[in-house]
């Protein structure tokens, strides 16, 4: 996988507040970036700017490679069984072998359960399975550890590490510490306006 993600001189304004400014970084294949900072400092906004879903107040984002996003919004049909809800994205992404991701995240027994009955952690694992099956080189993860138990946290850390090993890029916004090899930490407090 070849990928690149570069941000230059980013600034983000929400309403009347300038959240951060003069933020630049470049990530090449195999790098992991941890975006740290307190609540409300702009971690989620930065992820959305990188994903192209939010326009930065200033600066530009350049990317080479498809992006996959996991954030607090599940985007799965609440009334469908998990298997069917995920199947929609598998078709969109052209994924032929979704089973491996389900095994890795221990979702197999949940496939027939309607999405609305899933717990917070199970929903998070479902979103991560969709990310894996999307096969994107650039991962944007917004608080991926929320609601996960210790075992699931470990398997997410392994997944991200494997993703970077195979040449992917991972940008993780989290207030929790995450054990990742060769991770570069960007503390948003240093860029606060």
């Amino acid at each position: 996988m070849q990928a690149r993600l570069a941000a230059s001189d980013l600034a983000c304004r929400r309403g009347e507040r300038l959240l951060f400014r003069a933020l630049s970084f470049e990530a090449i294949s195999g790098s992991a970036i941890h975006i740290a900072g307190a609540n409300g400092i702009g971690k989620s906004s930065l992820i959305r700017i990188l994903a192209g879903l939010l326009r930065p107040f200033a600066g530009t984002v350049e990317s080479d490679g498809a992006m996959g996003l996991v954030d607090e919004r599940l985007a799965l049909d609440q009334n469908l069984s998990l298997g069917k809800a995920l199947a929609f994205y598998e078709k969109l992404d052209g994924c032929r072998d979704p089973g491996r991701a389900f095994d890795l995240l221990q979702l197999g027994p949940l496939m027939d359960v309607p999405v609305r009955y899933l717990s917070t952690g199970q929903k998070k694992r479902a979103a991560l399975a969709r990310l894996l099956n999307g096969n994107c080189p650039i991962w944007l993860l917004d608080e991926p550890l929320n609601g996960l138990d210790a075992q699931a946290v470990a398997s997410v850390e392994t997944l991200v590490a494997q993703h970077c090993d195979t040449g992917g890029i991972a940008v993780v916004a989290s207030h929790q510490a995450m054990a990742l090899p060769d991770v570069r930490t960007i503390d948003l407090a240093e860029y606060a306006a």
Partner: protein, 219 residues
């Protein structure tokens, strides 16, 4: 192209009666209820009913078209579905085009079928019924388009559903004027104008709705 087909299949599953996210047969029952109430309200004057019944069916159809708007866009917007689609290169406009088609299929054909019992309740002649049916066939795509654009515009607002209902009514007036106008004139010009307005609205609505979804992200 295959992405669009996948999208359409999901939208149909969501919106068609018996689906999991739409208004089901509620618009249909509402439409029939209005047709049933009208004779009670104005009395059993067969001539009056036959003369005004076509217009009543049109008004009932317009109001029934408002019912499914509440969940048409807001659910997916809140759930982040459009974000996931955008990351996969599916533009909001395409998503809205698919949604428009599914929305029309979910309420219009049933409404056309229900027009037959409604016409019988109001004592409409065969010819008037035919005119109403053709008019609704030409006009409902326009109603669906207006509804979709308004649903997308109000999706991120609190109490957006009630506002959507109010906003649809003035925007749907041209369709109503020409559509119901076909009942008063024997020539097909009203029908053609209704169809033309519908086509124009169907072309514009996905663009407007797509822009509304993008704007909602910034808020």
């Amino acid at each position: 192209m295959s992405a669009l087909a996948t999208l359409l299949r999901r939208d149909l599953g969501l919106l068609l009666p018996g689906g999991r996210g739409g208004a089901g047969v509620l618009p249909l029952l509402f439409f029939l209820a209005v047709a049933m109430l009208y004779p009670f309200a104005v009395g059993p004057d067969a001539q009056l009913l036959a003369r005004t019944g076509g217009g009543v069916i049109w008004v009932a159809a317009l109001l029934a078209a408002i019912l499914p708007l509440e969940k048409l866009v807001s659910g997916d917007l809140e759930a982040g579905v459009f974000d996931q689609l955008a990351l996969r290169g599916v533009a909001e406009e395409w998503a809205m085009l698919s949604r428009l088609f599914a929305h029309w299929l979910a309420f219009a054909p049933l409404l056309l079928v229900a027009t037959l019992p409604a016409a019988a309740l109001l004592g409409l002649s065969g010819e008037t019924t035919r005119t109403v049916l053709l008019g609704l066939l030409a006009g409902t795509p326009g109603l669906a388009a207006v509804g979709l654009a308004v649903a997308a515009l109000t999706a991120s607002l609190r109490g957006g559903a009630a506002l959507a209902g109010l906003m649809v009514i003035p925007l749907a007036v041209p369709i109503l004027i020409f559509g119901a106008g076909t009942l008063a004139r024997p020539d097909p010009s009203g029908l053609l104008l209704t169809a033309a307005i519908s086509l124009g609205l169907c072309a514009l609505a996905p663009l407007a709705a797509g822009a509304a979804i993008k704007a909602a992200r910034e808020s």
